[in-house]
Symmetry: C2
Subunit: 311 residues, 2 copies
């Protein structure tokens, strides 16, 4: 079977693996990312992880190495521009340096695009030509499959879906603007609303779950599953904001399917009724019946997607 080497470089953990042409992860190795150590330390660790994989499967003939890394990065040039989660990285020619050290063809892509590609080739988007992948987590990121290929745009910066304005004069986003989708519908936003509710005395259950720490999206989800009325109301609001953003994505990209990943998507069963009601209410008729589904690849999305870059 054809196989590909894959690296999923994250801000806290890095994985390497060997992935089959059927999308199965055959071997995997991982280590903490030395994010403070600078490019040389991290690249050394990437090389070491790939060598571990090669030693585990010395017979494998891989077609190349796909690498998913935090953006912004220039996928054509193979350069990591300035990933905020990695200290001291500025215009690092990551693809070229790995090619030199490992003697293999390297394709680099940002992590949201990699996850989208993995879901498209091997997950919830199989068989479509156009797909929107949105990861609802600390922030909101996205990757777009447009007419049978990954949408890049200038410098690979298309698909920054978390930073579309969907409301005026409301919450300020980490990016500095007001009313971004991410500021209203990310897991961080849901946690913030949970904290406000708990602080106002509106949900003793949330307060008890969080203890002396801040309320997180996970707490809101757990309290909602336990039937807490305040938490359920927060999820209804979350679902509505998700729906508004998805309506925009439908009109702008016209996908055949919307795939949701990230921590908040694990609450999809609770979010779905109000989210779908919002879509039916606001989308034009031709866009109303597009399925909204959960990502399928889970923790392997990064590796499988990275392998898809070369498979």
């Amino acid at each position: 079977m054809r196989t590909a080497l894959a690296i999923d470089l994250g801000g806290t953990e890095t994985r390497a693996g060997l992935v089959g042409a059927d999308g199965q992860v055959l071997v995997e190795a991982r280590s903490p990312t030395n994010a403070a150590g600078g490019p040389d330390a991290v690249i050394g660790e990437l090389v070491r992880l790939v060598e571990i994989i090669r030693e585990a499967r010395p017979d494998a003939r891989s077609v190349g190495l796909g690498v998913g890394a935090p953006g912004p990065l220039d996928s054509n040039a193979g350069i990591a521009i300035a990933p905020p989660t990695l200290a001291g990285w500025h215009d690092v020619p990551l693809a070229a340096r790995l090619r030199e050290r490992l003697g293999v063809e390297v394709q680099l892509e940002n992590d949201a695009n990699v996850a989208a590609l993995g879901e498209w080739r091997f997950g919830a988007g199989v068989g479509t030509q156009s797909m929107v992948f949105a990861t609802i987590s600390t922030g909101i990121g996205g990757g777009i499959i447009a007419d049978g290929r990954l949408l890049h745009g200038r410098r690979g910066l298309a698909g920054e879906i978390g930073h579309m304005t969907i409301a005026e004069g409301t919450e300020r986003c980490a990016c500095g603007a007001l009313g971004c989708w991410e500021a209203l519908a990310s897991g961080t936003a849901l946690g913030r609303e949970g904290e406000r509710l708990a602080a106002s005395g509106g949900s003793p259950m949330l307060r008890a779950m969080a203890g002396t720490g801040p309320v997180t999206a996970r707490h809101v989800g757990e309290a909602a599953r336990a039937g807490d009325a305040g938490a359920l109301a927060l999820l209804e609001q979350e679902a509505r904001w998700l729906g508004v953003g998805i309506v925009n994505l439908l009109h702008l990209y016209s996908p055949e399917v919307v795939v949701l990943g990230g921590g908040v998507s694990q609450l999809l069963d609770l979010l779905r009724p109000e989210m779908e009601r919002t879509v039916r209410l606001r989308a034009m008729s031709a866009y109303r019946d597009i399925p909204i589904v959960s990502a399928k690849l889970g923790g392997h999305a990064g590796l499988v997607g990275a392998a898809s870059l070369v498979l």
Copy 2:
């Protein structure tokens, strides 16, 4: 020189022409569209117009016929699905019927995409790989060039940029939703605000310009050019809404240039300061310096764009 036949089928007027490979319109013929007459009458007229063009240039060897028509339409199948401006058109196989009658290869595309293609090949977007074209007129339409080709999406319905939500609970759009870009920033919206201002006594100049009729965007533009403070304030608000929408388009498509067409774009000199201020304020840094320019092709955009489908 290579040439192409082109049809620009509009709700009120239809044009046909012969366009050179350099984007120049060599011959042109036009007639009112019999929009109430149904598909047979309109198609008959299209055939007649093309025959006029052929008779005018009997020596021309055209590479095919490109047709721009009102959406929604399926460009792959060459079918006009249900254009709201043409009575009795439902799933009309327009490309096939013109091919039969005229004995020439036919490519069909919706009018906003055709205009985008024309600007990209021969107008304000020449030399780019990614471009957003937005026409700010009665409504707001768009066409997207993504990584070197027209973005279609499912059923060719990508790029409905007028119907992204950019504000909550504000103006209701013709599509039924609240807070669409079109409901806030189209020429119709600008006229509506002008009418409100005039009705409240806030601009005697606007009232005088409109007489007993409704205030239109054109009146607001003229009053602003004459220095009317109320009209200038309306344009500032218009510019801000345009800027918010453009910020979204930058983040979602990452174009190298944003091209504005339609009647409202003729006020670009007045709109630019506040529009660009809004972009600088709200866009992430990597997107702030993208040029926003006027469409170049003017009244010929439809024909030149249609010809680009086959050239």
